[in-house]
Amino acid sequence: MESFLLILLIFMIVGSIIAIETKNLLSSVISCGVVGFSVSIAFLMLGAPDIAITQVVVEILILVVLIRATITIDNTSIEEHWDTFAVVSSLIFFGLFLVFAFLAVKDLPPFGEPSMRVSQQYLETALQKTGAANVVTSIILDFRGYDTLGEATVLFTSIVGAFVILRRRGRKQRSAADTEKVGILTEEEIKEEYEEFRE
């Protein structure tokens, strides 16, 4: 079990290195997919089918969107250039990350032996309290409903932001009434003031 997870992790690391190093954008996108599908297999092995299903379908949709978006762009090859500052700084930060990760992981409960305090309560009382046979759904939509509401808000906000950025045409020019009301100067007025200032 753990050796299979290790193989999956190594597979993921190799996939991400290929995704970074390859020159072709399409191969890079497909190598990114390696990470997502391996993560979903890992979730399935660890006994979390809910998250595995979500991971698989999200990965498929993201791959389709990325391939669709990258193929239409003309520049599909990346020029390589050596940046000493970037390499040195990323090495330093990676070393710092390793040190703090070692300090933090030492205090975590060991793999396969979670501390069952709140989760024991959920497992024992979820079916009577909510009537849902799927304990995961009863947690995310009943016990932890605020979390799901926040997640939906994050999704909604990101969609609105993407819509605002990706629209083809901007808003129409400000009308005269609006500029008078808010007190924004029109271009002619700005030019007049500038000329008065120069004189």
């Binding site: 046979a133 799927n134 409903g145 808000t153």
Partner: protein
């Protein structure tokens, strides 16, 4: 029955090859049925509103890729997707407020029913359906926005067809 021919019946020049169109025609109903199954049975089996919504969005994306953007926009226009997205998000925030009538926010106030039945677990299937609608509409809209690069693309497509 059908008065005018549908785009899905005719192998028009738009979209991909007839092989892809035939396969998509067979797989379409199964994909949508599976998505709705994942959403509606989210409180009984693995899955839920988010996973089912992404499957439904994948169905619309496949339709768009195989048959061209006109058919995809006819099945779910981006204006309609915006409206569905906003309405479902609002409902998901407002319906838990009725819990204040009986106690607190996010209270499961509907009838719990018998466990392992489709109509059980009170509010949870309702929230699953809201999230499913929201995720379907928003992910399809974001696909359209990313692939065609335009706000309210359906109007632009109509203008192109007319002009």
């Amino acid at each position: 029955m059908a008065t005018k021919p549908d785009i899905m019946i005719s192998d028009g020049p738009k979209g991909m090859t007839p092989i892809v169109k035939t396969v998509v025609r067979f797989a379409m109903g199964i994909i949508f049925m599976f998505g709705w199954y994942i959403i509606l049975y989210g409180h009984l089996t693995p899955g839920g509103g988010f996973a089912g919504g992404v499957i439904l969005a994948c169905g619309y994306v496949i339709l768009t890729l195989a048959f061209g953007k006109e058919l995809g926009l006819r099945k779910l226009s981006d204006m309609g997707a915006s409206i569905i997205d906003n309405t479902a998000a609002l409902l998901f925030a407002v319906v838990p407020m009725f819990g204040f009538l009986f106690g607190w926010y996010f209270l499961n106030f509907l009838d719990k029913g018998r466990p392992f039945q489709l109509f059980s677990a009170g509010n949870i299937p309702l929230y699953n359906i809201f999230i499913g609608f929201k995720v379907t509409a928003s992910l399809f809209a974001i696909f359209m926005a990313l692939s065609i690069f335009g706000r309210f693309v359906s109007k632009l497509v109509d203008e192109e067809e007319e002009g």
